[in-house]
Symmetry: C2
Subunit: 405 residues, 2 copies
Amino acid sequence: MTRREVTCTAPVNIAVVKYWGKRDSKLILPTNSSLSATLSQDQLHSKTTICTDPSFAKDRLWLNGIEEDISSNSRLVNCFAETRRLRQEVENKLKEEGKAVEALSNQRVHVCSENNFPTAAGLASSASGYACLVYTLAQLFELPLSTTELSKIARLGSGSACRSLFGGFVAWEMGTASDGSDSGAVQVAPQSHWPEIEALICVVSDAKKGVSSTSGMQTTVETSPLLQERLRVVPGRMKAMSEAILKRDFSAFAELTMKDSNQFHAVCLDTYPPIFYLNDVSRAIIRIISEYNSGPEGIKAAYTFDAGPNAVIYAPRQNIPEIIQLIAHYFPSSDASEYFKDPYHVLEEPLGQKKPVVENVVPIFPVGSVKQILHTPVGDGPRILSAEESLLESSGMPKRIKSLL
Amino acid sequence: MTRREVTCTAPVNIAVVKYWGKRDSKLILPTNSSLSATLSQDQLHSKTTICTDPSFAKDRLWLNGIEEDISSNSRLVNCFAETRRLRQEVENKLKEEGKAVEALSNQRVHVCSENNFPTAAGLASSASGYACLVYTLAQLFELPLSTTELSKIARLGSGSACRSLFGGFVAWEMGTASDGSDSGAVQVAPQSHWPEIEALICVVSDAKKGVSSTSGMQTTVETSPLLQERLRVVPGRMKAMSEAILKRDFSAFAELTMKDSNQFHAVCLDTYPPIFYLNDVSRAIIRIISEYNSGPEGIKAAYTFDAGPNAVIYAPRQNIPEIIQLIAHYFPSSDASEYFKDPYHVLEEPLGQKKPVVENVVPIFPVGSVKQILHTPVGDGPRILSAEESLLESSGMPKRIKSLL
């Protein structure tokens, strides 16, 4: 019996048909299907190393260098329990066949996970984090599962995590079974199908943290009359969105994306007491993109907002430099190199030196209203890394531990 | 034949079940019924003098000292045409009966109208303005109409104007007839029924003017899927709101008022492109009132927002001083005497000298974020004033004309 260790990364996904509302909060079964694009792990990812060793006394988990208590987090407990149960099945089967098998299901694990994007960026890390945890456990335990089956386990950690198991464009089909057996992710189209689509994440400052999505969506289900109509609307949108993606019809994709973001925030506002995630900067970005789209060339960009004020703008690659200049015009920065790092070298002119394509849509905002713009194409699904990429030392302890002093 | 002249005032009303959407934009027939409280004319009113004289060459109208072209405004044209048609019927009947009658229906009129609240306050003046115009014309022409019948003419000018024909609590029943004959206002309860209810209007600064309600509601009807659910929800709310008023149940009244304001703004957000009227100050007021209402005493105030960022807060009289102090705490002013004039002398302590009842709900906003607070009880319907109150000189020209230089 030897030590086993696997290190993987998993991507962030940003929904274009939003998930908001659970019909079963323990199994994390949604009230509607949703659809997202997976963003490139070259820019944004969670990275997880999991190590199992007969000498480990208990399960331990470090998240961004801080040890977390697994047992008090039922979602973590569920992900571990389900993958271990399946590992036990593998072991039983191998034993029955008279084959050699390591009893990994009974060993304790050390888990070390990090996000390469700052928490301050306000990006939800639970989707990439749980996707990475479950994907890495599946590698470690050599589980014979399809990606869709694996996505159903990730779903137990965080609903939207199931969509981070695939690259490209991904649907989470809500399913109807009460045990959640048909509620998982499927790939609508791989990254290679429509590589022109890229995303800009505009990180927006906000004075006040909004309510968590877990408690927010629960309150919406309990109090919003309009959610009932949304649940009737979404199936048609899922179909239309899949078709738009398969036909590479950006105009249809963008209009549906913007309408669905608007509707998600509308049901938040119809919640009692109302939930607000959009602030004045978010509203201004919506106005700027709407104005940008009203020109003779038609729809050139799509905004979408999750449970926070940050905008994600999807657009074909050719429009990306123009949109970066547009955002930088209305939301200036004091340090251009921190504001936009240009990982793909798309800017031909320095930020703010160019007349914006649409002028006087909103007033110029104070410096720092948008803190940063991140640029990322649509990307692939989870990746298995080499042993050198491990986050754990040979002792089984994290290489980096954040001092709490 | 002599000159005739009448001067009247009409009140502002603020809906607690909102009107948003027309099924007939020429006759101004709504997609749902609505309900409002009428605010006291002692604080807020439109005042109109109408004079008819055989010597007048044409219809003329001055609004806040500036002459307007009546013929280019179909809503004004419709109000004049309908009241003159009814005057003609009166004249025909009197003639048939062999009685003396002045042929007023063929005479030209001079109309002079003023609002006693500044346009900068962002309060819709069309409701009180059209209510006053139609009420004054009805007095001038001695039309034998019930207030509900009169409200249907005011509706042709501006939908919500029909509700300003009554004092107290007023429903606009949407009706079903295609000619609008059953779409008018009825009084749910007079001012005297529930005199404890008062309103605070928080005038909020906004950098950008939102879309007009006329074009906004049209776009909502055309593009918002969620509006369909709202139209199913409103009848139940109308019934529940009337009952809450008749039972003087402030908690039920307030909860419905807040939910309906939220839902109106939710369907605006579900419109494509989305319509925003609430800004960060409006959101903060909602948070403050929600927090204020979450204490052991239960619901003590209700916010509501029309097509703009201004908050109207309805509350029982006993809570009013506390709420003024609360708003003044989070939204300080540089000039307390301009900020809140205290017409009813309710403040026992100077503004901002008292610890607010709920603390640290939102950050303290920059000075001027709320420009002014107006305090007004629920009030009566249109009033006929004495001849000394006329806005016209004996020449038939306005006493005050705004110089356009």
